[in-house]
């Protein structure tokens, strides 16, 4: 059977479903193809489930710490199976919400695995058969998948991916994590707070590679407090008899008890099984589909968005790109011309960054100045008992233009949007500093950091 439509979207993650909704809003007849569940990795096995578990773990940790402020709770007990049920209910609710929005925007969902057979034809295979979808415009939003290591092959029970790690019915007693990146540290922190003994083995020279080391230091301290053992510049070799063996930084051999080994060493684009070669859609050597700022591939009428076009592999980047692609299809003059894409890491404390770091600013030829404001000087952080961290602002000395904001601390993920707006708007230090921020709140840290860059912060001494 062949179905003809104006637009088809391959993949319903945060890139694909958003693109489909926007296409629907713009009056395009749209088919959304999904091989598994609506919402893709992010909703079903990524951001949302991990944040659900992280919330529970953090809450437990806060409740236990509450006796310091006179709130003593005894007998905190984690029913992890119930936690998982609750997590799933949140996921289900979000998925049904997407279903509702797609229907409301006249997007037709076709379940099955799609691949290109012609430039404008997708073959979709499902249990109920094979059908051809022919579309004038196609958006590839197939995302990415994690990969394992030759020495640590996923087996679904002991050597696991983040998917299984987020679906465990019991908190593992001893968890080893290969790869100290975002997923590894988020899940590691969560299980440590829920009582696991966690070991992290990272090959590169720092945890959270690519993140400003100033911020990472704060997180490292908190990892140590949680009893997480971590080793950088270390290479995990094998998992045998309940132990992970590794060569450590100093050349010594290490062995770490683990009943589960979580491998989080990176993700690869889902571009290899969708018939790109057959129709001549170009990818780079890493398999990322090459696109321009209108998200157009080299093949006219074919667009690609999200993880499959390259890093940063972030849901919100995919969504924005999806909107751009949909609008371009509808004849609008849209472009992915964002100045900065914020990144957030849900460790405890959280990290959130947007824009340039100090060294990146120097590379670009700016003369950067830095303003830093510690959470210890922030009333609201004291009240929350979360004084670890700071907000750091990078600006151009001559123009005071805000170039980057980097926050490690309580609710950093919720603080970064103001900074992203500032950068998109071309705001200066004064713009942020002179904006009235309500007291007592955590965003005051951003305002104070802006003032600190000019040596004028009120709540710290800058002599």
């Amino acid at each position: 059977m062949t179905q003809k439509t104006e637009a088809a979207v391959l993949g319903s993650g945060p890139g694909g479903y958003v693109a489909a909704i926007r296409l629907g809003q713009l009056g395009k007849e749209t088919i959304l193809i999904e091989k598994d569940k609506l919402g893709g990795v992010c909703l079903n096995i990524g951001c949302i489930p991990s944040k659900a578990l992280i919330r529970v773990a953090k809450l437990k940790q806060r409740v236990e710490a509450a006796k310091q402020i006179g709130l003593e709770v005894t007998g905190v007990n984690v029913d992890f199976a119930k936690v998982q049920t609750w997590k799933q209910s949140v996921v289900d609710r979000l998925v049904s919400g997407i279903d509702y929005l797609l229907k409301g925007n006249n997007v037709k969902v076709v379940k099955g695995t799609g691949k290109f057979i012609e430039a404008h034809q997708l073959e979709v295979k499902s249990l109920s058969g094979t059908e051809i979808i022919e579309a004038k415009d196609i958006i590839i939003a197939t995302g990415s998948r994690y990969f394992d290591l030759p020495t640590f092959k996923f087996n679904g029970t002991t050597i696991i991916s983040s998917t299984e790690a987020l679906s465990l019915q019991q908190v593992p007693k001893k968890l080893a994590i290969i790869g100290g990146g975002v997923s590894g540290l988020e899940i590691g922190t969560m299980y440590a707070q829920l009582g696991s003994k966690v070991t992290v083995i990272e090959m590169l020279d720092q945890l959270l590679p690519g993140t400003d080391i100033d911020l990472v230091r704060i997180v490292e301290r908190s990892l140590r407090k949680l009893g997480i053992e971590y080793h950088v510049k270390s290479r995990a070799k094998e998992y045998r008899d309940g132990k992970v063996y590794a060569t450590l930084e100093d050349g010594k051999e290490g062995a770490f008890d683990a009943d589960k080994v979580l491998v989080t060493v990176g993700r690869r684009p889902n571009s290899d099984e969708i018939g790109l070669k057959k129709v001549g859609i170009q990818t780079d050597p890493h398999g990322f589909i090459q696109v321009n700022k209108k998200m157009q591939t080299n093949l006219p009428g074919v667009y690609a968005i999200g993880d499959v076009v390259g890093p940063p592999m972030l849901a919100h980047k995919a969504s924005k790109e999806g909107i751009v692609a949909a609008e371009v299809i509808a004849g609008m003059n849209s472009e992915a011309d964002f100045h900065a894409i914020p990144g957030v890491i849900f460790t405890d404390p959280e990290i959130a960054t947007v824009g340039l770091t100090e060294s990146q600013a120097k590379e670009r030829g700016y003369d950067p100045i830095i303003g830093k404001f510690p959470f210890t000087a922030l009333g609201r952080a004291l009240l929350a008992g979360e004084t670890e961290g700071f907000a750091k602002i990078v600006a151009d000395k001559n123009s005071n233009l805000v170039l980057g904001v980097h926050i490690v601390g309580a609710e950093a993920s919720d603080l970064i949007s103001e900074a992203a707006l500032a950068i998109e708007m071309g705001a200066t230090l004064e713009d942020i500093g002179f904006t009235v921020h309500p007291h007592p709140t955590l965003p005051e840290s951003v305002m104070e950091a802006a003032e600190a860059a000019k040596g004028k912060a009120i709540h710290i001494l800058q002599k």
Binding site: N292, N298, T428
Partner: protein
């Protein structure tokens, strides 16, 4: 390999052109030398051929947009290529133009290829463009390349107004016809494009740059009417449909020679009047898309039939929109004829930088007193608009008298050499 194809230099000092019509669309496969786009320069349309065989990846200008020589027009992908770079990574306006050529035909062939790996030169990096997301969108919607807009806001920020102003300067325009409801009912907004826009610019420039006066006289055309009647048949045998224009040109040339200030232009910068010793006569021609002025070159060396043939050819080309650049440039004096349509007389606007324009009007039989007798003669009015900066009313009147003398007594033309 992907090439960014830039507007080539089409010669004759043309610095920019308007994209009138795309002849290809994104995704089309094109052959080498296949026409890609119709570009309107100062006065004519030219078709720009493809320098490459390949697939059109991206059209980088909208119809109606004015592009400068050297500005990216489109990208073409050859076999085994890579995707295009984005518009904002384009190399900016004003890159090295190719050497000028003289365009003999409407199609010019000066393909210029620049590999996409060429780094941007003057335009800012996308993330250094100081403009809010809304302003950036406004620029895209208006077809303005924001990377070349000068910001007037604090610290060089590009404001909405900067983008609007850039657009209004006519340097980058995207327009659509929209019907809207105005305060008094339905209004249609027609974009000012192509020839219309050029006419608007030229007329305003002429009016602003000169001190124009119009002198009118009446002329007895009876002799010319008879002469034309007699010459018509023999001309037709040579395939020429003879109008009055060649006769007027014949009468005009000796008058211009006698009054060289009428065949001049004013060099404002050097404060010099340039008297031209060659006689290229512009013929204002009404076409469907607007006024164009093809030029009869070296009119002083041409016979009535030659002139007739040439005017007919130029007129045909003008109506077909096929005039080459060199066929509309270099006129020293212009004639405009509204006689075929009607009216008593008009006050034409000088074809700047010329200093005078002669208006011809309809020839009608009128009672005229001649030798104390009322007789019926073929009469017309001549109107001469001239630039009072360069010459005065007396000279203009004498000049018209000279033309009049030759038109009323064409035999006198025998006394003139070319």
């Amino acid at each position: 390999m992907v090439y960014e194809f830039r507007l080539p230099d089409v010669g004759e000092g043309v610095a920019e052109g308007e994209v009138v019509k795309w002849l290809v669309k994104e995704g089309d496969e094109v052959k080498e030398n296949q026409p890609l786009v119709e570009i309107m320069t100062d006065k004519v349309n030219v078709e720009i051929p493809s320098p490459k065989q390949g697939i059109i990846q991206k059209l980088m200008a909208k119809e109606g947009e004015v592009v400068k020589v050297g500005q990216a027009l489109l990208s073409i992908e050859e076999k085994g290529g890579q995707p295009t770079v984005s518009a904002s990574e384009r190399t900016p306006v004003g890159t090295k133009p190719s050497p000028p050529t003289s365009a003999k035909t409407p199609t010019i062939a000066i393909p210029q290829e620049i590999p996409l790996t060429t780094p941007p030169q003057a335009s800012r990096k996308p993330d250094e463009i100081l403009a809010t997301p809304a302003t950036r969108k406004l620029a895209r919607d208006l077809g303005v390349d924001i990377s070349v807009v000068q910001g007037t806001g604090r610290g060089g920020r590009i404001t909405d107004e900067d983008v609007q102003r850039f657009k209004q300067l006519g340097r980058a325009v995207a327009a659509v016809t929209v019907t809207t409801s105005g305060p008094r009912g339905v209004e249609e907004r027609v974009p000012l494009r192509g020839i219309r826009r050029k006419v608007a610019e030229h007329m305003l420039k002429s009016k602003n740059a000169t001190a124009q006066v119009t002198h009118v006289d009446e002329v007895d055309m009876t002799e010319i009417v008879h002469l034309r009647e007699r010459a018509k048949t023999s001309a037709e045998k040579r395939g020429v449909k003879l109008t009055y224009l060649p006769f007027v040109i014949k009468a005009l040339i000796p008058a211009l020679k006698q009054y060289p200030y009428l065949n001049s232009s004013l060099d404002d910068e050097k404060e010099e009047i340039v008297l031209k010793k060659y006689y290229n006569i512009g013929i204002a021609t009404d076409t469907e898309s607007g006024l164009v002025v093809p030029v009869v070159k070296d009119a002083e060396h041409k016979s009535i039939t030659q002139l007739g043939l040439e005017i007919a050819t130029l007129s045909e080309k003008a109506h077909a929109g096929q005039l080459a650049l060199n066929e509309v440039q270099g006129s020293t004096f212009t004639i405009t004829n509204v006689g075929g349509i009607g009216g008593v007389f008009a006050t034409p606007i000088i074809n700047y930088p010329e200093v005078a324009i002669l208006g011809l009007h309809k020839i009608t039989k009128r009672p005229v007193v001649k030798d104390n007798q009322i007789t019926i003669r073929d009469m017309t009015y001549l109107s001469l608009s001239f630039d009072h900066r360069v010459l005065d009313g007396a000279m203009a009147a004498r000049f018209v008298n000279a033309i009049k003398q030759y038109l009323e007594d064409p035999k006198l033309l025998l006394l003139e050499t070319d």
